[in-house]
Amino acid sequence: MPTIVSVDDSTVPGEGSSRLLLLVSSDNKHIVVEEDIMSRSRFISKQVEGFEATSQRHAILLPFSSFVLNKVIEYCSHYRGYYLLEDDPDAAPPGRSPVREWDQEFLDVDRNMLLRIIKAAHYLEIKSLVGSCARAIADMIRGKTTEEMREILGVENDFTPEEEHSPSSKCTG
């Protein structure tokens, strides 16, 4: 199955012909972006469908900072006009298709940023980006002990001592 396939030219409107969207980040930055670019996001596409039904276009408020939003826009711009199999609603769970080199470089960021990007991608329903981030996080924790994992990702241990020593938490197959 294809990972990336350039969409037939006739179906991609020329640059600048797409309508514009106004996105507002949590730090109240207004970012104007072409609708085309953001069509990879199921969340944005659904919003746009809503606009079409009511013939009214609003700003779309997003619960993350402009720093993260710009990063997501950079991703969507890079793959503008490309078909990514994982974004297909019927595709297998994200993160299973071959690694794209560009994504690896794009996600060569610190841990906090990576977590913020995956959260934004999840909110915006961009499966391919969730998959690439998940793979980067999985690479980070693969083969680590429980203690190392808590430390790397800053997760708190909320087991009581009894739970931690109960046989059910130990029996993991």
């Binding site: 199955m1 299973r96 977590l115 995956i118 994992m149 931690e164 059910s168 130990k170 029996c171 993991t172």
Partner: protein, 530 residues
């Protein structure tokens, strides 16, 4: 606390990419992680022993081997997470008294639903006695190997098996059955199952089971989308077994006006002329077919194929996938028993020409032709360029006679330049032929190619280097390569039966290893150059 790592959806994606030992550690990190990691760990089981270990006889606790309430409580934590149970190995190295435990559990279990959330159930063990232990009303996909019944072991007969399957798993919509060529199951088995599941969406049977009677029963299933075959190609063709000799000849069916109302994928175990009769019969919904697999019983003479392909061109307008297995009984071909000049002729572009008008075709596969296809580099490009939706192309990458093909490695340079959309490509090309000037200077790489399969084609020691350099230029890091020895795991039919010269395989291994290194080096180079 970074909250994305508390969102179950995100955790499930991440844990889904990790192996069991990482997830075992994840299960101990915190409560939220534990729940999702355990779901991931227990979702698919391909071994029952971890579950049976929980219920194993603890001789200190009781004398009878009856699992205790505490054991059942622990069992419930894990059993409710199991969605897929795939048992395909007849293991004998169990740490616990596995079969004894199954026996005690089958007598003493407190509930009929041993795996209450089971969706996919595959039981391919030779002892069928305990298979019904995990039958459950939630199962939608059932995969079973039917083997000879051992009456001394009190095994269920085929008929009783069919009754229990229908009664205990009414939600089955996807049925896979397989039996070896040496076994003839009870004549009631398939009819009982087909009549028992009127809501069936997919059926997978051994090719031998697709008789006129079976097709007639299938034609009445209202929701049936897929008729496919089960088992490897080799099972059915290389050694067809005794049932082959007496196999019935095809007779036209009397289909009712609403036959196969939902069918989109069909396998026909018929020669092309019979297949043509089948899909042209009254009330057969030929125009709704999207995928067709023609599995020829006998070797096909190239001159007989265009008429069949012409029929598909005019009638199957939505055909997206066409797979043709054209050699019939490969053993016969390999032994050189097909001696008619017609059968020894090669398939040419003219044989396949009607296909060039299939506008919806996304996959074209031609397997098992005796001779390499008689097609040039330019003709392959013509095929791909004529098919705007084509993503996968398999042109007889492993012919039965390993002679030198017309096709050369230069064809890949042409394809990477003109047809970059391909995601899967499988060819049998001569690697000893000199590269064309175009191929030597070609720098276009396949942007979407996930798999490249090169058959065991002629490759001399002196051609290893230029071939590897050329391949490394047109491939990216994400392309999986199957060449040389690897082709054995790739093609379902056994290459080991062929007489492939060992030095040729060694040369192929060298190419595969060199290409992998060079592709990585080129990737680093691109990164450095920015």
């Amino acid at each position: 606390m970074h909250d994305p790592l508390q969102l179950p959806d995100i955790l499930a994606v991440i844990f889904g990419l990790l192996d069991a030992s990482s997830n075992a550690s994840n299960a101990l990190v915190c409560k939220r992680w534990s729940d999702i990691a355990l779901d991931e760990l227990w979702r698919e089981l391909d071994d029952l022993e971890p579950l049976m270990r929980i219920l194993a006889w603890d001789e200190e606790q009781n004398d009878y081997g009856v699992p205790t309430t505490a054991q059942w409580a622990r069992y419930a934590i894990y059993s409710s997470r199991v969605r897929h149970l795939n048992l395909s190995d007849d293991r004998t190295d169990f740490e616990t008294d596995f079969w004894g435990c199954l026996n005690r559990v089958s007598i003493h279990r407190p509930t009929l639903a041993m795996l209450p959330q089971l969706r996919h159930y595959q039981w391919n063990l030779s002892d069928r006695r305990f298979a019904p232990l995990f039958f459950n009303s939630t199962v939608t996909t059932f995969n079973f190997v039917v083997e000879e019944v051992d009456e001394d072991m009190d095994e269920y007969s085929d008929k009783i098996l069919a009754q229990i399957v229908v009664a205990r798993m009414p939600a089955i919509i996807n049925l896979h059955l397989w039996w070896p060529a040496s076994y003839e199951p009870d004549a009631t088995l398939v009819p009982m199952l087909l009549d028992g599941f009127p809501g069936l969406r997919e059926i997978h049977l051994p090719l031998r089971a697709y008789t006129s009677d079976t097709y007639l029963r299938l034609s009445k299933l209202q929701y049936l989308r897929v008729i496919d075959f089960q088992g490897s190609v080799e099972d059915s063709v290389v050694d067809p077994g005794p049932s082959e000799a007496g196999a019935e000849e095809y007779r036209p069916l009397e289909l009712s006006h609403d036959a196969f109302p939902a069918l989109s994928k069909l396998v026909l175990y018929l020669d092309p002329p019979q297949a043509a009769t089948f899909i042209q019969q009254d009330h057969f919904p030929i125009e709704q077919l999207q995928s067709l697999f023609i599995y020829s019983k006998h070797a096909v003479a190239p001159r007989t194929l265009p008429a069949f392909l012409d029929l598909l061109k005019t009638k199957c307008r939505s055909l997206g996938k066409l797979v043709m297995m054209l050699s019939g009984n490969t053993k016969k071909t390999l032994l050189g028993l097909d001696t008619e000049p017609d059968l020894l002729a090669s398939f040419t572009l003219d044989t396949f020409r009607p296909i060039l008008s299939y506008q919806e075709l996304a996959q074209l596969s031609v397997y098992n032709c005796a001779q390499p296809l008689d097609i040039t580099d330019e003709e392959v490009v013509e095929i791909v360029r004529s098919l705007p939706r084509l993503k996968g192309l398999d042109l007889n990458c492993a012919p039965l006679h390993l002679s030198r093909p017309k096709l050369t490695l230069s064809s890949l340079a042409l394809l990477s330049t003109h047809c970059p959309q391909l995601s899967y490509l499988s060819l049998y090309a001569d690697l000893d032929a000199p590269l064309s000037p175009f191929a030597q200077s070609c720098s276009a790489s396949f942007v979407a190619l996930e798999k490249l399969c090169m058959g065991p084609a002629p490759l001399k020691k002196m051609s290893v280097r230029p071939a590897a350099i050329m391949l490394s230029r047109i491939l990216r890091g994400f392309t999986e390569m199957f060449m040389g020895h690897d082709i054995r795991s790739f093609t379902e039919y056994s290459v080991s039966k062929w007489d492939i010269p060992q030095d040729r395989l060694d040369n192929w291994d060298e190419v595969a290893a060199a290409v992998e290194l060079m592709v990585m080096a080129r990737k680093d180079e691109r990164r450095t150059l920015g």
